[in-house]
Amino acid sequence: MKGYRGKILRINLDDRSVVKEDLNMEWAKSYIGGRGLGTKYFYEEVDPKVDAFSKENKIIMATGPLSGTPTPTGGRYMVITKSPLTDTIASSNSGGRWGAELKFCGYDMVILEGKADKPVYIDIRDDEVEIKDAAHLWGQTTSKTMELLAKDVGEKAKILNIGPAGEKLSRIAAVMNDMDRAAGRSGVGAVMGSKNVKAITVKGSSKPEIHDMAQLKQVVAAANKSIKENGVTGEGLPTYGTAVLVNIINENGVFPTNNFQTSTFDKAEEISGENLAENYLVKRTGCYGCPIACGRHCKVDDLEAGGPEYETIWGYGADCGVSNLGNIIKANYWCNEMGLDTISASTTIAAAMELYQRGLITDQDLDGVPLQFGNDDAIIEWTKRMGLREGLGDKLAEGSFRLGEAYGASDVSMSVKKQELPAYDPRGIQGQGLAYATSNRGGCHVRAYLISPEILGLPEKLDKFSTEGKPLWVKIFQDLTASIDSLGLCLFTSFAMGAGDYANMYNAAVGTDHTDETILEAGDRIWNLERMFNMKSGLKKEDDTLPKRLLKEAIPDGPAKDKTSLLDQMLPEYYELRGWDTDGVPTEDKLNSLKI
């Protein structure tokens, strides 16, 4: 099949062997690539009960069949491993240019096994693959690492690396690439750190073959037209970036504030996308092959840096009670420099602020930087200390659940399966609550972005307070998202494209005969495989839940006043739609029908 490069790079860090294997094309037909195919390899090769930091865990960087092709947003890759944060499968997605460049080297994925005896980085140039000493890089921030590496491997190589947080095994550490893009979630950076791998550089010289270039050009032209003409992808995201959501979510009264204690932030305008565009934006940036260019480059004082995204602005902003957008930009910068996930890092600080509010963390623990809600210096300083595990930062680096647990108050953690929730209060958005609770990687908005129909009205407007019909919406969104992540495209294309459009691009590039139905079926297969991994790792039905606050404590004020999540009303129907038993376990019939 075209589109793929047909090769895997398997690197054993114990004996430093490098093996180039043929890609299993039968698996590729069933699991597409990226998230799906990477998970299939992982599932077949790694014991689900493995300790995430043991050398028996593996980490896979997987591109999709459309990565590095002329398709819109075709530059993405996934990082697949067992998460040290959630103990579930981790599959973190990132943009930038690294994924496409790996394809240009001639590989669909890289599998790292074992553990290097000292810090190394991996230099990939087409057929030449070297494991090199990284002593001079260890301990460096992400931007310094990239600066030093560029001297070693040349300015044109694309760089993926971890920061100090990954080296120090922070369970919320990210894998960074191309300076400020991140495979952020689930602690994937810490697994790379546990293997003593600081970076992977790629420089390739050939592009993937295309099955029918004339056909691909035609479907890509149609897709680009849809993206350009769509109000979200053609104007909203390019003009304001993701931060435009601040005011929308706040006006709906579902903008979690002070660690979800309330859900309307009276200073939202100060941290809005409109304010960001007016007073801080320097330029827009885009990933490989992206016609949307939602990325931001902002300047505050003498600092100019990538970001911040909506989720980050919310986490450091409303969730910490902070309205100083300049300091949020600085905190985001330090988060990237440390190589931390901005959602988990910022909301772990919010959880620490609540522990301080409750009197469980005291001034004695804080070395002069109080953690009260609204302290706009604290978000910067504690991000640095978290990345370096200094003082209380050592506990923060473990994520909010383990932080809370250390004080006998894990209820302070607004997380699902120990992964911190993002920027939408599910008490006032019922379908999003079900999506959070059932996400295969714990608290996450991009396993099924129900905000699209429940708030934005795309593809149609649903009543956000109602549970009716939501289980089916969640299932379809989860399945389609799994396929988009597996193709190697950005989820934002789905604002303008449907399953049939993805099938058309896949068929033209690869030579398959997919339809919208089989694209969704592949997503269902991927979802069930991830679920099986999680079940075998020890997760149970009881883990498909939300923090007690969101189930029991109503939103106290604002447009969603008095709402709580009605998860129990949706979960049984969701299990049934999935073909799972009442304990949430995929049935034999279901697995057989998907040929798992």
């Binding site: 929308i248 009543d463 989820l491 447009p559």
Partner: protein, 74 residues
């Protein structure tokens, strides 16, 4: 009756962030957007007092409208 209109994103251009205007009793959001020269296709999200609203619902004195053009993120 007085209606407060909160505008967002590109709808602010030439109109400002918050506009308060007087309308006849039982006016609708459709009349409001016509007055502000906002086309219907530019109204992607319409909230009345923070709740999902429709263009033809009856407004009341002191109601607050929030109007967004097509935008998204995540």
């Amino acid at each position: 009756m007085d209606i407060q209109i909160k505008l967002f994103a590109t709808l602010r251009e030439g109109r400002g962030k918050i506009v308060t205007k007087e309308f006849p009793p039982a006016a609708t959001p459709r009349q409001v957007i016509e007055t502000l020269q906002i086309s219907e296709e530019d109204v992607a999200i319409l909230l009345v007092n923070g709740q999902d609203g429709s263009l033809d619902q009856e407004l009341h004195d002191q109601d607050v409208l929030s109007i967004f053009p097509p935008v998204g993120g995540g």
